[in-house]
Symmetry: C2
Subunit: 440 residues, 2 copies
């Protein structure tokens, strides 16, 4: 691995070329994303032209812009010209407006028109991620004619496997797979073999659109405007990429950090700090609630110091029970198994689950706790465990569902937020139970 | 929504049929997975035959087997006969061996052979998930002949878009996309337009194989045996499904629970408890360490009761910093950005990140803490915050990487485990710092 950096430092272009030639495109992308900006730039320039284009397409957009800065003007123009229109739009979006403008003006009128059309759709919509180069079939064609049409016009299209069938005004009236055309006789009308189209709208959220592609097991889905006119196709490879980006965002937020804007090894320490420090600060401010609670119950604590022994165990367990519920419910919402309308069913299940979990732990923990301290405190601990587990699973299921309803990303308010909330309320419960049982 | 259950209870088949006719296949699957077993069975029987097959294919395997139990023998045989071989193998795997055997014997010899061949591959491998019905091209064909071959033999294949080119002994020598064939003249030899094949091995882990499909943006990838002989194709829709299953598993484990074996709403409360109680118990046993630590430092605690005020805040922050590092590193490993060889780079970054994060919090927290209690305790808290944050990010990055190296799923040992570990060690640090600063 280290050889690559060494070869780059030595300016050994032939060695670099050799090293990279042994890998396929995803392998090269992988390598490039692991190294510092200089090694990356040198290695990229060592790639043969065709390969460079394929590699560039698959690179993280933040790294794409960095690479462009190191290339000569003509090389940049050539690279940008050869990208697919959707990849090009994604890249131009990342660049400073003046640079983007200059690059756009270097394109052929056709390519420029397609790219600006894509850039006209807001970021994170299906319209921005679609491929505008589509082969569409007229609805009165025969299968043989349709195949001929595909063979003549298919060279530039990103996919030919899903063919939208269009009526007057480019409205999508159906969809036929290339596969279906191939296994049908030439003289059958296309209209007879086409099926009801599954469509997404250009302004649909990209994640929603990508899920449509996945749920239908489709190779591509037509993207249309409000009048059902064909604009492009969202292909399965772009859908998979969108879903991967969204999963990464969700996972980062589940762990209370912002998603990184570039691959991990290409992110600096300051970049990591920036992604995390805000959430960590918000959470520590939330945690000051626990300081207030303990302060309020200081007399109880001073009277029975043994109560302090179980504080971390109790709130830790509450946090874990809350995380379990939250991650389960967030996932069930993400894959569409659970919607807001199911709120009462979900919360009902989680209340019962939390109660049973707390009871199991209490039954198992009573004897050891009684032996360690005494029966009264063991009783306090066990009652508090049941209450805290029930509270935690309830909060863990309710919070993400309500958040989503309010338009907040459920992953943001999940595990760490629930833990912080459960910490403070769990302590209140613990001390109230203690006061009641111990008669303080 | 509730109408469906109502219609099922009333046995109103016509109403049910009407209700389900308005939805597409994923919509019906969604509906079915939200209701109880009886409603599901009644609603399923209300579907027209073609639709029932499509819906059945997309259902969760646990629900498939449940549905079969409620159908008449002939209906079951017909359903199983019409499934794709890979879906059929997945279903038979879930059924009791005797039932599976009986169903297998009801298939045509061809279908039976394909299914038993799939079942011969271990679960969770690429071989088990591939489609065995493939159209392959002989390497000496011309493009026109190849297209003719596809049109004649394509009816049964799950995909025609990726065509493996085979040499002697069915060895894969290349791959050509249907798209490429279509835009090439009929008299060009296939050998000239085929490309180097990206292959997966039948015994490759299904997740690894699915990532190959995604990373290459491929519609399908040939699956071969150890001698490079063609066995089938892993298609992109199966790859997406595999990746979704794996993401769900990883996410569940991140939240310290076992993945559910069926969709959330179709899981009983006892099912939820079973998925979580084991982990919760392991974690609470781990948390008893904190009881021991507090017990050991009881004198310090009794001397300065104000120290107890910050215990939940301190360990909560450590847990959050650890979760941030763990989720980031686990994800970076999952998408292939980070490997074990990067251990020192990753841990180095995280040590620095943790130190900076802790320092930021300490700087911001010193004055408020000094005002609330006193300068000495504020100093103890701030020093402990820096140490605990550094410890937490280090543990958060190191643990998943080492776990993966040892063959343990990194998601299993992530956030909650790190939190439990950081809780106990963080307390030790806190009290040692207190003893040093306060001169106890």
């Amino acid at each position: 691995m280290t050889d690559l950096a060494q070869l780059a430092r030595d300016g050994d272009l032939r060695g670099l070329r050799q090293h990279l030639a042994d890998r396929d495109v995803p392998g090269v992308v992988d390598e490039l994303e692991r190294w510092d900006a200089v090694t990356r730039a040198v290695a990229f320039r060592a790639l043969p032209k065709d390969r460079a284009l394929e590699v560039f397409e698959d690179l993280d957009p933040a790294l794409q812009t960095e690479l462009l800065e190191g290339l000569r003007e003509e090389a940049v123009t050539a690279l940008v010209r050869d990208l697919d229109p959707d990849d090009r739009a994604g890249l131009l979006d990342e660049l400073p407006a003046t640079v983007a403008q200059r690059l756009l003006s270097g394109l052929s009128p056709d390519e420029r028109a397609m790219t600006t059309a894509l850039l006209g759709h807001p970021a994170d919509t299906a319209g921005r991620r679609m491929s505008p180069e589509v082969v569409a079939l007229p609805e009165d064609a025969l299968v043989g004619e349709a195949l001929e049409h595909v063979r003549r016009h298919g060279r530039d299209a990103e996919t030919l496997y899903v063919l939208p069938v269009i009526g007057p005004g480019r409205c999508v009236v159906g969809v036929v797979s290339l596969r279906r055309l191939l296994v049908t006789d030439d003289d059958v009308p296309v209209r007879e073999v086409m099926s009801e189209p599954v469509l997404v709208h250009a302004r649909d959220d990209q994640e929603t659109a990508a899920r449509v592609v996945r749920d239908h097991g489709a190779v591509a889905v037509p993207v249309v405007d409000d009048e059902n006119r064909l604009l492009g196709l969202l292909t399965v490879d772009d859908a998979m990429r969108i879903l991967e980006e969204e999963e990464s965002e969700d996972l980062a937020r589940t762990g209370a950090s912002e998603p990184l804007s570039r691959p991990y090894l290409a992110t600096s320490v300051l970049g990591l700090v920036r992604a995390r420090v805000g959430w960590l600060f918000v959470l520590i401010v939330g945690a000051t609630l626990t300081v207030n609670v303990l302060d309020a119950f200081e007399d109880t604590l001073a009277a029975v110091v043994a109560l302090a022994l179980f504080v971390p165990l109790l709130i830790g367990t509450g946090g874990n029970a809350g995380s379990q519920a939250a991650t389960t419910v967030v996932r069930a919402m993400a894959v569409g198994d659970v919607r807001f309308a199911d709120l009462t069913r979900v919360v009902g299940k989680e209340v019962a689950t939390g109660f049973l979990l707390g009871s199991c732990l209490a039954l198992l923990g009573f004897v050891p706790a009684a032996l360690l301290v005494d029966v009264d405190i063991a009783l306090v601990l066990c009652l508090a465990l049941v209450a805290v587990c029930t509270l935690a699973t309830t909060a863990g299921s309710l919070t993400p569902m309500v958040a989503k309803r309010l338009g907040v990303d459920p992953a943001v308010v999940s595990a760490p937020f629930i833990t912080t909330f459960v910490d403070a309320t769990g302590l209140v419960i613990y001390f109230l139970v203690a006061q009641a049982v111990l008669g303080l």
